[in-house]
Symmetry: none
Subunit: 422 residues, 2 copies
Amino acid sequence: MKVELVAVGDELLIGDVVNTNATRLGRLLTDAGMRVTGISTVGDGLDELVDVLRIAVGRADAVLITGGLGPTSDDRTREAVARVAGVALRRDPEVEQWLRDRYKDTGRTLTALGLQQADVPEGGRMLPNGRGSAPGLAVDVRGSVVYATPGVPHEMAAMVAEQVLPDMLRRAGSPAPRAQRVLRTVGVGEGIIAAYLEPLEKELAQAGAVEVAYLAEPGETRVKLTSAGPGGGAAVDAAALRAYELLGDCVYAEGTEQLAAVVARLLAERGATLAAAESLTGGQLAATLVGVPGVSAVFRGSVTAYATDVKQSVLGVDAALLAAEGAVHPGVAREMAAGVRSLLSGTYGVATTGVAGPDPQDGHPVGEVYIAVAGPDGDAVAALALPGDRDRIRTLAVVRSLELLRRTLLGLPQEHTREFTG
Amino acid sequence: MKVELVAVGDELLIGDVVNTNATRLGRLLTDAGMRVTGISTVGDGLDELVDVLRIAVGRADAVLITGGLGPTSDDRTREAVARVAGVALRRDPEVEQWLRDRYKDTGRTLTALGLQQADVPEGGRMLPNGRGSAPGLAVDVRGSVVYATPGVPHEMAAMVAEQVLPDMLRRAGSPAPRAQRVLRTVGVGEGIIAAYLEPLEKELAQAGAVEVAYLAEPGETRVKLTSAGPGGGAAVDAAALRAYELLGDCVYAEGTEQLAAVVARLLAERGATLAAAESLTGGQLAATLVGVPGVSAVFRGSVTAYATDVKQSVLGVDAALLAAEGAVHPGVAREMAAGVRSLLSGTYGVATTGVAGPDPQDGHPVGEVYIAVAGPDGDAVAALALPGDRDRIRTLAVVRSLELLRRTLLGLPQEHTREFTG
């Protein structure tokens, strides 16, 4: 089934908003065995949207629109779909009642413009919105089907998962998905990962049954092994086995499990808890951990000691050390980790300190970062020279702290040790 | 000048890569006075790319392609541009020599496929790539101009800034940018904001000189006022004045200033500092504040008291209150704010507690959240019922905490009070 995505909104054209909806949908639909053949982004103008929809309907079996369903005058998706289908819009009394109830429940006022959300193209049907107030649409248009979903990401995602995708699969007769495995690595650059896997890539190039793709994110590289056609699970499994041999202990998980979730799982398996002390990462390490469902069983809490004197008064870092060396020092990271472990009664403590930039600090260059882990069997400190801007340095410091925790919990050496001799 | 963007690559369609190039280009071109009228994403297939380019050339004055210029067999952008222009590809000896030198310098092998990077459509010209090895193209096609740039973001950005944009501006005769003002509001839904502005929208619809657009983000709505043509600053200023009258104190800033930056500025103006205590937001409030450049002058730090006993042992919340009411209670938020203010010696303390989900907690439903601010003139507590999933509830709790701080610092009533009677 060929699917085209159409994203609606001036904010996407002028670069105010990143089109993450398209990325999310691309992954979801591809994983379900669909073929996404094109993505179009168009502004709020009615005529432009109608043109783009006409072209998309002519090319694809299904067109999935995101955005333009809301209660304001620049929400024209309903009108555009009706025009492309060549039918009139009709106010649906049931949808109108649902809208009135929904607005009443949430204490909001339903305006005349808001009521247009109850308009459905003739012959189409409404897709209820369980997370927001703008209902979606499904309308058959000249042998294709057009779905319209809200632009708000979590509303869109729920509507697609619960209503659009099941309908697509019904129409497509449930195509067989291609086999795929994703190996997640941390702490080694994408170029080195690719060099490690050169022998595998050569073997695979001859057989032609499995494709390899690399996906770099800050501090991490995902290796994606996909069968060339439907099925092909055995060939992908064999390739994954070989990849594990070549990559060693920098693979921390498979599939969608994130590094913070691995750390939380390792802590839970050991009946251990964690406390965090943050300086340059400013709460981001804690927020990343708290993003893991069920983390409350293992995460005690954190202290962001942003002002230097707080490192002493709350975390108990030695005042003489701070006076002599400043806050950017391996000993400070070590004492922060030990201090927060004691303050919050955690089995382990983890800490970050360093220079996120934009300016050097006390003679230390931007990117000079120290991370530490304190635990029942002693502590570990790592000195890092991290590249990039303020945001990237913070994100990398969080990733490397989690990786130091993972290695400590697994009893691995502090750094990935596979020598590259290729 | 109407510009369409075309992004090339299977990885964009299957959701492996987010199309941040389009966002970056949208902002850059809009700021330079161009009108980005559409963005298309297409896979690596030649026929599909030719079709998309034909349509884009027919609609726009300039088409800017990103991707498909590299040295592998799935890089077909040169071929597609030549086909749309109706001309042959010719190997350019100078480009070939430049490529050979470039590969030699970096110790790589130039393959036969790699040499296709020296192919230029007849009548077109090569755009040198100062950051990588794939040269770009500029080709005139039936009254439009087609630019092809690499997909690698930093190579693309440099080529566009140094070569493409200057050429566009020359062709466009340096258009005057359209006047624009953006009013940022918080704490009131998009539908209500639109209803507040209905009188303005009616006045503007008659004059036709200023366009209004709404941009919703979690907890916030931006109102964008843009002149219909080049210039038009006076009309936009008059519309902004009227919008301020209609919206009242839910406007917290203009342009790109974020809510956390406004809070930091208000604190600095008062010579005051802030400390944060977080439960359900788990570090995200601190991380949001730390994202503001220069915040170290006003932000003392934070405690994430994720485990309930930490609220008592570190922040000094009354043990009897916690035992009787649990952690999800307005009194707990109030004592957390006062406790962290005292612990970290801040002028103000701010606190969050509540249920992020996915499951209810101690009989409290998902989304029940309490936020509090403690300061030299007393404290304020707000009870919130926040919608959405775990991530969204956290983000909304952060936004509403910052808004409660803003209102406290400005001496405004705790909630936006303009009654909607429309």
